[in-house]
Symmetry: D2
Subunit: 398 residues, 4 copies
């Protein structure tokens, strides 16, 4: 049974081919039954309950879209890219196409709620590593039908371009999230010409390349990404909120009374080595979503610990701390000055955020010039690559 994400059997009773209405791409199609079943799986359905942008809606109230919508969007772009490449004569078997589609569909399945805030601090593995553990478990459940997807996801497939479409400096994940985050936040500067970029994709020697005519669109893509970093992902108010959440969680964990208020969050503090990941651990991990954190915040208002209460109340009612940014570390003097003038001198958070940007060191975007010459983007583009690793230091206080 299954009654669909949205709407419609192409042939009544025959299969599970479904149409989903996406506000950005319009009608999109779920390509086959296996993918339909993966979408219907509880591991994937959990992504409905995790916001893509975590705490960003404090700054951009429209940015409340879910990781679920993003994963479906990335799937759609993968389907389009495969179609474009096949039309250019690139041979891609149905099995390979399905593998690439599954790999991108599930690429974020290992994210925790509020991952930007919580993962870096508390989870010793990257979300991709955890996504892979989920994929392995699903592969058992689906009798090995995810073999191809896993080979692609782990960059072991001989057609390297398939993995590059999933994860690289110009992958369909980024294309969807830049577009989607821009659409929902209303930050017009982040819009990218994804349609044009996809039309310009090609493959040479099993490597993904972009035809020369697409250079301006790639420049624009890199530029949009940098803008979205400083204007959205690393907006100073968002950084403040994330640090408040991190420190709140740290206190809750340490507090004798804390974690019992919302026991499910305990799972995030006890992640074992990857090889010990069992079905039980993944099930537990998968039971946690944004609502656990919200409920944890609300419960902790009664914790009696004034620091915990200040942070929890601040996050629930948007009484956010102030955040100063600087291009160099704050001096001891500057910190002292802040300590003197703030309300909670023991709640000052100091650190830095880095926008990694485009790397000219490894796995560059490759450009296909006339005469089948392939050269790295940094050799032909006039994008300012030197400025692309930005670090900003912050001091956060109330």
């Amino acid at each position: 049974m299954g009654n669909g994400i949205k709407v419609k059997y192409i042939f009544d009773g025959m299969n599970k081919r479904k149409i989903i209405n996406d506000p950005i791409y319009g009608f999109t199609t779920i390509p086959d039954d296996l993918i339909y079943d993966l979408i219907q799986h509880p591991f994937f359905q959990r992504l409905r309950r995790i916001r893509q942008l975590g705490l960003t809606d404090y700054v951009y109230p429209g940015g409340t879209h879910s990781r679920f919508a993003h994963a479906l969007g990335a799937l759609h772009l993968m389907t389009e890219a495969i179609d474009v490449l096949r039309n250019k004569g690139i041979h891609i078997t149905n099995k390979e196409a399905q593998g690439a589609q599954i790999a991108i569909l599930l690429h974020d399945i290992g994210h925790s709620p509020y991952s930007h805030a919580l993962e870096r601090k508390f989870i010793p593995w990257s979300h991709e590593e955890i996504s892979l553990e989920f994929m392995k478990l699903l592969n058992v459940e689906f009798d090995g039908k995810l073999d191809e997807a896993i080979t692609i996801f782990t960059h072991r497939h001989k057609k390297k371009f398939l993995a590059q479409l999933v994860s690289g400096q110009l992958d369909l994940d980024r294309m969807d999230y830049l577009n989607r985050d821009s659409f929902y936040t209303g930050v017009a500067e982040g819009v990218i010409g994804y349609q044009r970029i996809i039309k310009m994709l090609n493959v040479v020697d099993n490597q993904l390349v972009v035809e020369e005519k697409g250079i301006y669109s790639i420049d624009k893509f890199l530029h949009s990404r940098r803008i979205m970093y400083w204007q959205v992902y690393l907006h100073k108010t968002v950084i403040a909120a994330e640090q408040m959440l991190i420190h709140w969680f740290e206190m809750i964990v340490k507090s004798k009374t804390g974690i019992k208020y919302i026991p499910s969050l305990g799972a995030l503090t006890a992640i074992p080595p990857l090889k010990e990941f069992s079905k039980k651990i993944l099930m537990k991990f998968s039971s946690i979503d944004d609502s656990d954190v919200t409920m944890g915040l609300k419960s902790s208002l009664n914790s009696g610990d004034p620091n915990i209460v200040v942070l929890a109340e601040g996050l629930l009612n948007r009484k956010l701390f102030k955040c100063q940014l600087s291009k160099k570390p704050f001096s001891a003097l500057e910190i002292k000055k802040v300590q003197k003038n703030c309300n909670h001198p023991n709640l000052i958070f100091i650190g830095k955020e880095t926008n990694a940007g485009y790397s000219t060191k490894l796995n560059e975007i490759m450009i296909l010039k006339k005469g089948n010459v392939v050269i790295p983007l940094s050799k032909v583009s006039d994008f300012n690559f030197s400025m692309n690793i930005d670090t900003k230091y912050y001091i956060i206080y109330s």
Copy 2:
């Protein structure tokens, strides 16, 4: 103190005039300090944690916007409408303008989470009545500064058009939600020409009217509304999910073990008469949001009651029941047939949904014709008013 929803003091340090980036309207402005402080109030901030469309994202994954974003959008349209009317020479004092803005900002503050599903069944008062109780409490806190807003909200202001802008057959609430729900779900049919309608507003004898040139836009508005009802708000999969939630909650309440899993939800089952609404009760009500319901669903998976588990798991993992719609009630025979063929014969939900539509009986939209003649819309429009009260009967089963 807080540092703003978004971005920017027009004059550093002077006041709290803020700009908010809305994906539909672009940059919008918070008109004054009082309204800024109301937005920053915990009662209003709670709306961040309540989805405007409840369970609709099962059908339209993009539809995850919050009541918070909707209320700010309606505020923006109110500001625009007041501006248009003043430009036409309609006298509106600053106090009246602020009152209308506050009234629409707070019009939904009394909504419970998943209100469409939960309110009708469990809460004996309309959300407007509860919103009013919140407004009264805020009025105390803000030293009577909400007097004007309350007079408008309760339709007791002598300039009746102010109340009509807040709540009527062509109010700014509807204009924002039709637009916003359409934008986020991707249902292009729901888009309305709100800009044109607002430009055509006028006032005659203290009553809101629409200038004749706006008739086609009004027709379109009514049409869009009807489409959104059947295609989004009362989509059969959404009806199924809502009925599942209602019945799950009913069982949880009755179950001996149930409500203790998530005690906060208990507040929804013990709403006193309006005149007994105390600060304490409103605080309790205001502590509940979507996350309580989600956590309740997750907790109840361990309830041991198979019916509760079927419904909770269905809602969490999108194993939704089937829903058949019909223009007439289902016969006993039809029901029996369904009972025989379904998985859970004791979990069949029968009922009806009505799309109330435009009323030609009372408070019609009034059209201003040449020569200052004012006549009801139904006398001049070729919209099919007779079809406008639609009832559909449903039977829901697994």
Copy 3:
């Protein structure tokens, strides 16, 4: 040789597969070499020089798009519709697909400039009849490769749905022009959910049908069409301008000195019976575009005939006549009153315009209900069909 409408050989040097960037649909593709060659033909290139909306830019300055862009848009929608139908198992051969694509591409090739104003008065044949003559001539030039297209265009193909996609009450021509005219004029009310409608198309017994789930979208489509008629196509200022053009042309033709100012326009006054249409006549017809009319207007400023000058100057400099509309014919008394008060009593134009609307009499849109039952739209929709033939009477004067 040509080098493409836009941009790009998918395989260098191999064929003429081209991509066109459409502001509404994004990247669209020219399906094959024959269609490419037809687009490059002078008969089709002429459509670049004819505005789709004629004189409408007096009211909506953005509405300056060409018939060329519309024809390419309709071609794109045809390609999408064929794809949807094939995915539902409807058998359409490549030859049939190409035929339908060519038929819709060329459906407007027989339009004169400012056709709404000039054709009805001066050309005894419909533009479809002239389009057919062009198609026949092209068929000779292209060695019979347009046979299938002509069979479809003339509704003689056994797969009737192919013709219905080209011309019917729900054809792809209308879908493109409603969308495009709405996009360019900025009349948001005209936007239709074309993507959804196309996804809902199906075929039963060789007839085009719409699946039941598409009913609301069809209602919206009919509604948008009616709005576009009165708000754009038959806007009273546009009617005034068109009548001014018609009467100017009539005077020019009759005037002894007139037509010599711009001899090319003479061709429009000497259209022979269809069976006498020769290559020479079509070449002459095809040499005329908007610029001939503009130049004619400018030349006639020196004609010495004050009536001609008033009309020409009015059209060039937007000193347009006034237009009153009424639901019933103007009485002799009303006309006399206007005559007394206007500047040019001999330049009063009286007549009527009709928005034909949806016909419930013949060739209804057919709806596919469950159980493969097919019924006419008017039996299941709540659109107000009775109001659908609207006539408005006008009186135009300066």
Copy 4:
């Protein structure tokens, strides 16, 4: 009396305040009667008949918008910018506001048809110089009411920021045309966040500045502009078409029989020194629009000169010449090779095009940092300014 660009007297019979529907900005308003009368003037109405992008629709069929729509759009942005500045406490009198609005409204009034192709070659004055002559003439006609506008337009107003809004490295002209050209061509990369930029404008010491928070939007603006240059304005097919038009016109002028075919074009070849610009000359100039060129092309098909015919037919029927671009000049050898292999060795056009880009030398965009420090953009932005003067060499042949 006029009857309006669009639609609506705010007060019937009182004044000429009008609303215009713009597909990009929605409803926009004509600010006062004087501006209304200027828009209704034949000099301005002529801009309806001149396409903003000249021959660009050969590459982007949607790009057929007029200079008229652009000028109204720039007027709208000026109104918005003045509103923002006044809200920040910058004193701008009504007279100054009107002057700035008129200056930007009329800034392009001196353009010839197909100006990019024809002006540089045949007209010894910039279009701004000719616009100024038109403004002076209008100032006589309107009894000196354009004094303020002329002072601003010629950068002699003491509030320098008013002129900077009209013409500078971040003026409202550019903001409108980048947006509009992007909208109509469908080149998504050109979209700029104009709303955000305008909100960030401020004034220090009578100079226009951008608040620091707007830096990313400015970077994006410069980037979009560069993209639009190479992807649209200087697209190689557009360059080819422009060179064809230039050479066709040159031949027509030299030919003994040529110019008589379309005598009006003669005016473009006989532009006197600026101080000799008389009303008569401006009237003549103003009588020419796109249709004269189109008619000229069509007439010249019968000229008997095979070179003229090749070019005219190529332009009319889109049989465009090929264009090769290179970063360095073509060598004699390369040119010889082309000559050998092309169809018309005497019709080879060689030259270069330069995208001037952002200048760090003079009149930089100024950024307002905290503490009221103002510094040039190039000192704080990470845009790649060094690459900003690009020259490309072309060789064009058939």
